[in-house]
């Protein structure tokens, strides 16, 4: 199943890209995006517990079931204000 990953801030710097369509296989959960990124850059594993995932611009749990074409954003700890 194809989803659009969007990366921000430190997550983008670690991954080296800001947006990508990726195939996450069958029935993926939101957490599969972190697996995907951690496989490509082990540093992501260090960050997993502090990263939030948003699907179609809403925060979701890592158990959230993804749908074809979802926009899945990787949200490192926010620091606005």
């Amino acid at each position: 199943m194809n989803v659009r990953i969007k990366l921000f801030s430190l997550a983008r710097d670690l991954a080296g890209f800001s947006e990508q369509m990726v195939d996450l296989g069958r029935d993926p959960r939101a957490g599969a995006v972190l697996e995907y990124l951690s496989q490509r850059n082990p540093e992501f594993a260090d960050w997993r517990s502090s990263i939030r995932i948003a699907v179609n611009q809403e925060y979701v749990s890592i158990e959230h079931a993804l749908n074809e074409g979802d926009e899945v954003a990787v949200i490192p700890p926010v620091s606005g204000g």
Binding site: S9, S79, G81
Partner: protein
Amino acid sequence: MVSLTFDPINIQAILTNVTTPESGGIDIFIGTTRNHSGGRNVTLLEYEAYEPMAVRLMEQIEISAREKWPLQKVALVHRLGRVPVGEASVVVAVSSAHRKEAFEACRFLIDTLKKEVPIWKREYFADGTVEWSGQHSQRHEINQ
């Protein structure tokens, strides 16, 4: 009213916007760029946002505040891009018939914005290094 802007925030315009004949109290919080962070000198901040989601969440935060307190006008404005030291990065303004509600809502709005809204701050230090805010402390926490 919520917005993201790459220009300096016009505080006078926000103030005019939230003042109504029914309001007795207006509380405004202005977050400004500090010249130090974690004991080091900062020369510049740079903000980026997941813009559509940030606007959406800011709108939801305004709705939450209006459910908790009887408010007249609410303004939530965050600046993006480079912000020099001393300039406003965020302005929250609330008008209400009574000051207690204005204070409580303003505090709630900025606290919730800082916790929830996908905006990130990059700090440019005087020693030439550039870091995402909290980059080291977050890492450290996780490695503990």
